[in-house]
């Protein structure tokens, strides 16, 4: 546990005071970067908090708890700031830029137990316990997950269940009228799951990025208003805005904090059949980035009738947002067609205009809710951490071995159970009853 984490310790939203906690070896450094020399241990000090550029974030109470006499046993700090979301977001953004990580839910407590002074010989057992996520919790986490990642985990769970049901049926109901080759029927779902895991592992890189931030891609036809939207969300001119279509060539990424979560938003080249090499490359990069994103904002110029909006549709996935822009201008054909098209694709449609103020804040709120809904309460996403990648690799190895010993279902089942254990954090625990349920639903068992 060498990295340093931070989290909002009070409930998000407007409040008089918000408390941000830091824990880890870099907590002291981060605190003094923000608030000047470290206050005396366990004494509140009134300080001005400044970001890296020296700009004032807030006037706050700063507390310093050097380890091991702290909640987690590590070096800890607390900042009691004014409770507006803007202040909180700015502080968290500046901590995250300083290389600190947003803590996973429960991580402070986990660190506390891992550094437990209660009973050292049991510390290990506690860690194991906390590692072993319970069925209910993990399932809830999966339930909260929406979008492509969540669907992928659901699919894994289904495949695992199907595999286990066949193997266990072969073992437990040998004499009850099942087809003799019932175990071998697990072969196909096993191969399918292996392929899925291979994909996920190849995609580790993306997971790594998810850890760095929830990725939001701004896509659409050239000159649809992507860069304007991008700048409005960031509150600064990060991208060059011109009326000339195709102004943005490369992918421009910028970090932002949404509802207390780290996010990365990217502006990119408009999708169109490009002619010259620089733009072709820009469109290619846009494609890659957009496909890997957690959420795509499909921007459509509502006043145009060019029809070019259609080109971006292959990049979107159900659950993405379609923003029909320039709703202050007379509606063109694209607006209506895009609205219908987007709904058919399972997208949610919003009519927006960034010409005036307010639209950006409303959109930021909506994005915040989405990020929170996708990530809140889930100590996960699967491929987002090195440790999870290791679990996926282990599951992959186990499943590959299961395939090799498929003719001995009790051994194959052992390997698959092990894989299910490794994946339980993302798929939810698969209990005996789940497997038996599927066995009895699928096969006519019983002499």
């Amino acid at each position: 546990m060498s990295d340093t984490v931070f989290a909002l310790a009070t409930a998000p939203g407007r409040a008089a005071v918000a408390v941000v906690r830091l824990s880890g070896p870099a907590a002291g450094q981060a605190l003094s970067n923000l608030a000047g020399p470290l206050p005396p241990p366990r004494r509140a000090a009134l300080r001005l908090l400044r970001d890296k550029d020296g700009e004032i974030i807030d006037r706050a109470l700063a507390l310093w708890f050097p380890g091991p006499s702290s909640y987690t046993g590590e070096d800890c700090a607390e900042l009691h700031i004014h409770g507006g979301p803007a202040v909180v977001d700015r502080l968290m953004e500046s901590l995250s830029r300083a290389g600190l990580r947003v803590a996973a839910p429960g991580e402070f407590t986990r660190r506390a137990f891992e550094n437990s002074k209660l009973d050292l010989d049991q510390a290990e057992a506690v860690a194991d316990l906390i590692e072993a996520e319970s069925a209910a919790q993990a399932r809830q986490a999966v339930g909260q997950l929406q979008g492509a990642l969540g669907r992928r985990y659901e699919a894994w769970r289904d495949e695992l269940l199907l595999i286990l049901a066949h193997l266990e049926a072969a073992v437990d109901f040998a004499d009850e009228g099942l087809p003799a080759d019932v175990a071998s029927l697990a072969g196909n779902p096993l191969r399918a799951l292996l392929a899925e895991l291979d994909l996920a592992l190849a995609d580790q890189d993306r997971g790594q990025r998810i850890r760095e931030g929830y990725r939001i891609a701004v896509i659409g036809a050239p000159n649809a208003g992507k860069s304007t939207l991008f700048n409005s969300l960031l509150g600064r001119d990060a991208a060059i805005v011109t009326p000339i279509p195709g102004a943005t060539r490369d992918v421009i990424e910028a970090p932002l904090v949404l509802a207390g979560y780290q996010a990365v938003i990217a502006d990119m080249a408009g999708i169109r059949p490009a002619a010259e090499p620089v733009e072709i490359e820009g469109v290619r990069r846009a494609h890659i980035w957009a496909e890997g994103a957690d959420l795509r904002l499909w921007v459509v110029d509502g006043s145009s009738a060019s029809g070019e909006w259609k080109l971006a549709r292959e990049l979107v996935a159900p659950g993405d947002l379609c923003l029909i822009n320039k709703s202050d201008l007379p509606a063109g054909e694209d607006a209506r067609a895009a609205g219908r098209g987007a709904e058919e694709l399972g997208l949610e449609v919003r009519h927006v205009s960034f010409a005036g103020g307010g639209a950006a804040a409303a959109l930021a709120d909506e994005l915040g809710r989405r990020v929170a809904a996708d990530l809140a309460g889930s100590d996960f996403p699967a491929v987002t951490r090195v440790r999870h990648a290791a679990l996926l690799s282990q599951a992959r190895r186990d499943l590959a071995r299961a395939l090799e010993v498929l003719s001995q279902p009790e051994l194959a089942a052992e390997d698959v159970r092990r894989a299910a254990g490794a994946l339980s954090r993302v798929t939810g625990r698969i209990g005996t009853e789940d497997v038996l349920d599927l066995v009895f639903a699928s096969f006519c068992i019983g002499k």
Partner: protein, 649 residues
């Protein structure tokens, strides 16, 4: 697994009682005080009474009809995958079921023979009459066990403890502990077509008084249902038209003590329902107790009625039926696969549509039965009722099904009742030790939603818990706990000594990769020495080939070689499982205080608190298996317990 059996045997620390005061059926006055009273003479009751007596407790078995002791009230078979494992474990602990089944078995089959040894399950068709004779003999032979015919009407409760029972004639029997194995007798109702008969097992009266008493005690109770098929007159079956199913050419006995099976062996036959059968049933669904809405209890998913099968799997045009003879001199045949509760006329009609059964006569029609059970979460792992010390429950009353599940619980409840009467600590078997442990932990931790049946998939350490090594896992433990007699202990020691010696020897016989290459074995040239066991793990390396290399190996007994082959087959998997077992043990060994006040524990979710309060887990491991108890809740629990410990220290 290494047990120092000899030392264990010499210690036998728990043997409070002297053995050998053989009693005839006891006919004296009721006022004698017993150590343990067992109510019920079914599979649970017999094992409970015997285990209690083996421990040395003066034990009284009360049954409303002595004649029904050892009755197989449903199918004429014992064992199977999972169930056979239980029988082997009961036998390893010196219980009765295995030897009785070996004496009465008329067709032995090792299920899953084509699969690995961990999931092979011994099963036998059993002659019901012979089984009863064997069980009666075993009960009578048990020193210190008395039997009396008496319907029990009530429990005697004093100072919050059960201290005896009240018989039908108001006789009072006092005992230090009572084991209740009331089966389906609690408010049992039989359904057949429109008929409803208050009854326990067929032909027996239900025990309404005792049921009321249990409700009066505030025990959480529920209702379950199960069914049974019609019984057929085998003389009216056209056997020649049917496919035969024979037993194994060389029967494998259940018991580690049994010699070769000598009794005559018979075939079963296989037939199946037809489209016509399904038409008859479909037209009469309303008659079935479940589909007619007269029966609400939940039935077992793994043993559906033929009505269920027809409704749930409409695409199937046939369902298999096994015709199982109930005995050598008994023409009754048990048609396994057509449990039903439609009207007798309907049963006559659908059976006639089945190949081989056109002329069949029904001896007794099938029926569904619903009955009360006690939510087993009210029990501790010793099967004692937590809120009523002195009372132990075992068998179907705890929501299980099957002779083997009942017997396994009976053994544990009887042993623990005797241990409690003698002032000894409870005997609990772990999930890592025995299917018996898995069974009881599932019951007392998860409760049941359908009649609970053992499956090997319930055992997370399945590769360790095999039928072949039940004695190596449990007999020494049984000696230590005081439920294994000297005959079995001696036989086990002899076997264990040989195995221990050969295993040690097998560990010393090694080859380097180059030596292996010379011997013609293809192994990786990694410079590592491989033991005989590791070499055996290669599919193409057999004992025969190894015997060329090491002639002494050729002299090892068939049984020992088989055991070593099994050890080798699972070598890698078992080694890998060791870490899981260690982790399991660590949590399992962390006891939670009995009177822990979950209400006073801050930070627990309401769900976790309610579940913990309902189950009152004995260990942190058990708590972790309760659904809804999160890792967060567990760490709170652990922290709390640690603080208590420190305060106490």
């Amino acid at each position: 697994m290494m047990f120092h059996v000899k030392q264990l045997l010499e210690r036998r620390p728990d043997m409070r009682y002297s053995r050998g005061h053989a009693l005839e059926r006891w006919k004296g006055p009721a006022a004698v005080s017993w150590d343990v009273i067992v109510i019920g003479g079914g599979h649970a009751g017999c094992e409970a009474a015997s285990a209690s007596a083996r421990f040395g407790a003066r034990t009284l078995l009360l049954t409303h009809r002595i004649e029904t002791i050892g009755e197989m009230s449903c199918n004429p078979a014992i064992g199977g995958v999972g169930k056979g494992h239980l029988v082997r474990e009961i036998d390893a602990l010196d219980g009765l079921m295995g030897t009785a089944a070996d004496r009465a078995g008329i067709q032995f089959r090792m299920l899953n023979r084509s699969k690995g040894p961990a999931v092979r399950g011994p099963r036998a068709q059993v002659d019901r009459r012979l089984y009863k004779i064997a069980m009666h003999a075993a009960i009578e032979a048990e020193a210190g066990l008395s039997v009396r015919e008496e319907a029990v009407e009530d429990l005697l409760v004093e100072g919050g403890r059960v201290v005896g029972v009240v018989g039908a004639g108001s006789d009072i029997y006092r005992a230090a502990a009572v084991v209740l194995t009331a089966g389906t007798f609690l408010k049992g109702v039989i359904h057949r077509g429109e008929e409803r008969i208050a009854a326990g097992r067929h032909g027996d009266a239900p025990a309404v008084g005792l049921s009321d008493r249990l409700y009066g005690l505030g025990l959480p109770m529920g209702r379950l249902k199960t069914g049974t098929p019609p019984r057929l007159d085998g003389r009216t079956i056209d056997w020649a038209a049917l496919e035969k199913q024979a037993g194994d050419p060389i029967p494998t006995p259940f018991s580690f003590l049994s010699g070769p099976i000598a009794g005559p062996q018979v075939d079963c036959a296989i037939t199946g329902t037809t489209a016509k059968t399904h038409d008859v049933i479909r037209a009469r669904l309303e008659e079935s107790a479940v589909y007619g809405g007269r029966l609400a209890g939940r039935g077992p998913r793994y043993c559906p009625s033929i009505e269920d099968k027809v409704v749930r799997f409409p695409d199937r045009d046939s369902h298999q039926i096994f015709l199982e003879p109930e005995g050598l001199d008994d023409p009754t045949v048990y048609p396994n696969g057509v449990s039903t509760s439609i009207s007798p006329e309907g049963q006559d009609l659908f059976l006639a549509t089945i190949p081989g059964l056109a002329q069949v006569k029904i001896v007794r029609h099938g029926y569904a039965i619903e009955y009360d059970y006690v939510d087993p979460r009210a029990l501790s792992a010793s099967l004692e009722v937590k809120c009523l010390p002195g009372l132990f429950l075992a068998g179907q009353i705890n929501g299980t099904t099957g002779y083997e599940e009942a017997a396994a619980q009976g053994l544990v409840a009887g042993l623990n009742a005797a241990r409690e009467a003698g002032g000894n600590a409870p005997a609990v078997f772990g999930r890592d030790e025995a299917y018996i442990g898995v069974l009881i932990d599932d019951l007392v931790t998860q409760g049941v939603t359908e009649p609970y049946r053992m499956f090997t998939s319930r055992a997370e350490f399945r590769l360790r818990l095999r039928a072949d090594n039940a004695d190596q896992r449990l007999t020494a433990r049984g000696v230590e706990l005081g439920c294994v007699g000297s005959v079995r202990a001696a036989a086990f020691i002899a076997k264990a000594d040989t195995l221990e010696r050969l295993r040690a020897r097998a560990g010393n016989l090694t080859l380097t990769p180059s030596e292996a290459a010379v011997a013609g074995f293809r192994v990786k040239a990694d410079g590592k020495r491989r033991t005989l066991l590791q070499l055996l793990a290669f599919p193409e390396i057999t004992f025969e080939r190894l015997a060329h290399l090491w002639p002494e190996v050729g002299a090892w007994s068939e049984a020992a070689r088989e055991q070593l082959e099994i050890d080798a087959a699972y070598l890698g998997y078992l080694e890998r499982q060791e870490a899981d077992v260690a982790l399991f043990r660590r949590e399992e060994d962390l006891a939670l205080p009995r009177g822990l006040d979950y209400g006073a524990l801050c930070g627990l979710s309401n769900e976790a608190r309610e579940k913990l309060q309902a189950v009152r887990p004995a260990t942190l491991g058990q708590a972790s298996r309760i659904e809804g108890v999160t890792p967060g809740a567990l760490s709170l629990l652990l922290g709390h317990v640690r603080r208590l410990d420190r305060r106490a220290a």
